[in-house]
Structures are given as structure tokens and as C-alpha cells.
């Protein structure tokens, strides 16, 4: 068959034209839609990329913040532990001096008690010595009286008496008085020493009592220090715990930010790929518009072909 039936050719061309229009319409519609979709995706990619980038900057700031908090909390943990150690050491020292003060107080209280006993005994001895002195003086006066009486005595002939015995008694009484006086003086000195001892013990007890009172204040203060340090330690540990939670959140934020940036980059890659597709679609479509069925040259050529077919048919 060298020459086709024009009616068949026409039917074929009509079919091709009809499907071409349908195809062209669909391709045009798709091209329009995908161009819009492409633009939308480009805008979306740019917006998401900007947000993902901003998120990355935020993560860096947040990591610095949580790290700073962790560092601060760690520092406080160390400080509060050291303070706690110091407070317990100080409390131990306070307990030690309080014990010493209490022992001193008991000691000087006991010493005072003993000194008072000693003073009482010294005073008793003093009174006793004075009593002995008074007795000795009385005996001496009596011996003097006897001696004087003896010396004054004369018999009818004017002769005196032998007063050796009275004289001896006086001498003996004088010795007794002297010894009694020495005993009194010794007793007075003993009373003086005992009184001095009592005064010293009383003064020492006063200081020791004040030391006991002040040590009670020291113990109270040390207890407050330990309590405050305990509290500080607990709060510092809690601060550290919260800082760790902050760091963990920053780590999760970093992971999410990285995932966002990866996804954003993947979207951008896909968008570039789609853009490459669009370029090929446009260039191919331009060829179709010129050379394809229904294209500008096709229409011209078709008329020519149909003319030729018609002529051939007429020739037949």
C-alpha cells in the first residue's frame, strides 16, 4: 500500500490529535501544578532551613546555659561539702572545749569546796589557838601574881621566902604564852592562806563557769553551722541534679536539632532533584510544542501531508 486512504489517515490523525490534546492538557495541568508545588516546596524548604538553623543556634546557647549551671552546681557541691567538713570539725572542737570547760568547772568547784573546808578548819584551829593563848595568859597572870605575892611576903622577923618555884612557874607560863602566841600567829597565817585559796578557787570557778556558758554558745553555733552546711549540701546536690536534667534536655534538643537539619537538608536535596526534573520537563515540553503531534510544525506538515494524500488519492 503506497498511498493511504485519506479517510483512514484523517481518522488516525484525529485520534492522535484528540489524545494529544488530552495528554497535553494533562501535562500542562501537571506542569502548572508541579511548578506551583515546586515553588511552595522551595519556600517551605527555605523557611524550614531558617528555623532549623535558628534551632541549632538555640541549642548552642542552651548547651552553654546548662553546662554553666552544671559547673556552678558542681562548684557548690564541692564548696558545701568542704563547708560541711569544716562545720563538723568545728563542732568537734566545740565539743572538745565544752568537755574541757565542764571538767575545769567541776575541778574548780571541787577545789573551792576543799578550800572552804580548809578555811573552816583553819578558822577552828585559829579559835582554838586563841583560846590556848588566853588560857596561857591567864596562867601567866596567875604565876605573876603568885610570884609577886611570894616576893612581897615577909615573916615577923622581916625575912622573905624562897620564890624559886614561883619564878619557875612564871618562866614556864611565859614560855606557854609565847608558844600559844606563835600558834595563834601560825593559825592566822593558815587562815590567810585558806582564805586566799578560797578566793583563787572562787575566781577560777567563775572563769570556768563562764567558759562552760560560752562553750554552750559555741556548741549551739556549731550545731547551726552543721545544720546550714547539711542544708547547703542537700540543695547543691539537688541543683546538680536539676543541672544534669537540663543537660540531658540540651542533649535531646541537640539530637532533635540535628535530625531537623538533616531532614531539612534532605528536603532541600529532593527539591533540587525535583527542580532538575522540572528543567527537563520544560525543555522536553518545548520540543513537544514545536515538533510533537499538534506542535506548530506538525500542524503545518499535517496540512502538507493531507494535501499530498489528497493529491495522491485524486491521482488514483
Amino acid at each position: 500500500m503506497d498511498t493511504a486512504d485519506p479517510r483512514i489517515v484523517r481518522r488516525v490523525l484525529d485520534t492522535l490529535h484528540s489524545e494529544f490534546r488530552r495528554s497535553t492538557a494533562a501535562i500542562d495541568q501537571q506542569t502548572g501544578e508541579t511548578t506551583k508545588a515546586q515553588m511552595r516546596v522551595v519556600d517551605a524548604c527555605a523557611a524550614i532551613a531558617a528555623r532549623a538553623n535558628a534551632t541549632a543556634n538555640t541549642v548552642t546557647d542552651d548547651e552553654a546555659l546548662s553546662s554553666s549551671r552544671a559547673s556552678e552546681a558542681n562548684h557548690l557541691c564541692i564548696r558545701s561539702s568542704e563547708t560541711h567538713q569544716r562545720s563538723t570539725t568545728t563542732q568537734s572542737s566545740a565539743q572538745s572545749v565544752a568537755t574541757e570547760a565542764r571538767i575545769k568547772k567541776n575541778h574548780w568547784s571541787s577545789e573551792l569546796s576543799q578550800a572552804k573546808n580548809w578555811l573552816a578548819e583553819a578558822r577552828t584551829a585559829h579559835e582554838s589557838a586563841q583560846q590556848n593563848l588566853r588560857s596561857a595568859q591567864h596562867i601567866l597572870r596567875s604565876a605573876y601574881s603568885d610570884y609577886n605575892a611570894c616576893c612581897s611576903w615577909r615573916d615577923d622577923e622581916g625575912n622573905g621566902r624562897n620564890c624559886n618555884a614561883e619564878s619557875s612557874s612564871v618562866f614556864h607560863a611565859e614560855t606557854e604564852v609565847k608558844q600559844a602566841s606563835e600558834m595563834v600567829a601560825s593559825a592566822v597565817a593558815e587562815v590567810g592562806r585558806a582564805e586566799a585559796k578560797v578566793n583563787r578557787c572562787r575566781k577560777a570557778l567563775e572563769f570556768a563557769s563562764r567558759a562552760t556558758d560560752v562553750s554552750a554558745q559555741a556548741l549551739s553555733c556549731a550545731s547551726d553551722a552543721v545544720s546550714s552546711a547539711d542544708d547547703a549540701k542537700e540543695r547543691a546536690q539537688e541543683a546538680q541534679h536539676k543541672a544534669e536534667e537540663s543537660q540531658q534536655a540540651a542533649s535531646r534538643e541537640r539530637n532533635a536539632s540535628n535530625a531537623a537539619n538533616t531532614a531539612s537538608q534532605a528536603a532541600h536535596d529532593e527539591e533540587k532533584r525535583a527542580n532538575g526534573n522540572l528543567s527537563i520537563i520544560r525543555s522536553s515540553n518545548a520540543s513537544v510544542q514545536e515538533y510533537g503531534i499538534g506542535g506548530t510544525r506538525f500542524i503545518t506538515e499535517t496540512i502538507s501531508i493531507l494535501d499530498e494524500i489528497n493529491r495522491a488519492t485524486l491521482n488514483i
Binding site: A4, L16, E19, A26, S93, A229, I280
Partner: protein
């Protein structure tokens, strides 16, 4: 009509045309057909086939880009939520740290006072010993 429907329509038209061309070969076999086929039809089939392939690929890429953007958005939301947590815990940590520092200062003050009292007690004990002789 969404992209899938449009692509389906275009693909269908493409198939009909290629089948029509094949059918036409049976009824239109002259030089004009060969010329039309050589110059136009083959070029159209080739270009349109390429267009449809690229459209399919573009459609897939745009869908994938959309999906990636959704994933990125979700991860940005997760990151923002975690950022809130970072600030929340950092704020509490700061408050606790300030409070702990206050307690440390208080403890240091008490330790200093205790040291003074201890020193005073020691002096008083010495004074007691001196006074007692």
C-alpha cells in the same frame, strides 16, 4: 484533581497514543506515515515519555521533600520543647544554687562565730587555771 490523578490521565493518554500509532501502522503504511512517524511521532513519544518519567520523578521528589520538611518541623517542635525543659531545669538549678550558696554563707558565719566562742572558752579556761594557781 491531585497530582497522582493528573499523572494517571497523562500516562493513559500517552499509552493510547502509542497504541494508536501502532494501530495506525496497520492502516497507514505509506511514506507520509513513515515521515510523520520519523519527524514527529517518534520525537513526541520520546519527549512525552521523558516528560512523564521526569514528572513522576519530580512528583516523588516533591512528596519526599514535603515529608522531610514535616519531619524537620516535628524535630524543630521537639527541639523547642526540649529547649523549654533546658530553661526550666536551669532556672530551678539556679534557684537551688543561690539558696545553697546562702546556706554555705550562713554555715561559714556560724563556723566563724563558733571559732570565736571556742577561742573565748580557751581563754577563759586559761584564765581559770591562772586564777586557780
Amino acid at each position: 484533581m491531585d497530582h497522582s490523578d493528573i499523572l494517571w490521565t497523562a500516562n493513559r493518554a500517552y499509552r493510547v497514543i502509542t497504541e494508536s500509532v501502532r494501530d495506525a501502522q496497520n492502516v497507514w503504511g505509506d511514506e507520509n506515515r513513515r515521515r510523520a512517524e520519523h519527524v514527529f511521532i517518534n520525537a513526541w513519544i520520546e519527549n512525552t515519555g521523558r516528560i512523564l518519567t521526569e514528572m513522576q520523578s519530580q512528583h516523588a521528589s516533591l512528596s519526599a521533600a514535603d515529608q522531610h520538611n514535616k519531619t524537620a518541623e516535628e524535630q524543630i517542635r521537639v527541639a523547642a520543647s526540649n529547649s523549654d525543659d533546658v530553661h526550666h531545669y536551669a532556672k530551678i538549678s539556679k534557684e537551688l544554687a543561690v539558696s545553697a550558696d546562702d546556706r554555705v554563707q550562713a554555715a561559714m558565719g556560724h563556723i566563724a562565730s563558733t571559732d570565736q566562742f571556742i577561742s573565748e572558752v580557751k581563754n577563759l579556761i586559761s584564765a581559770a587555771d591562772s586564777a586557780g594557781g
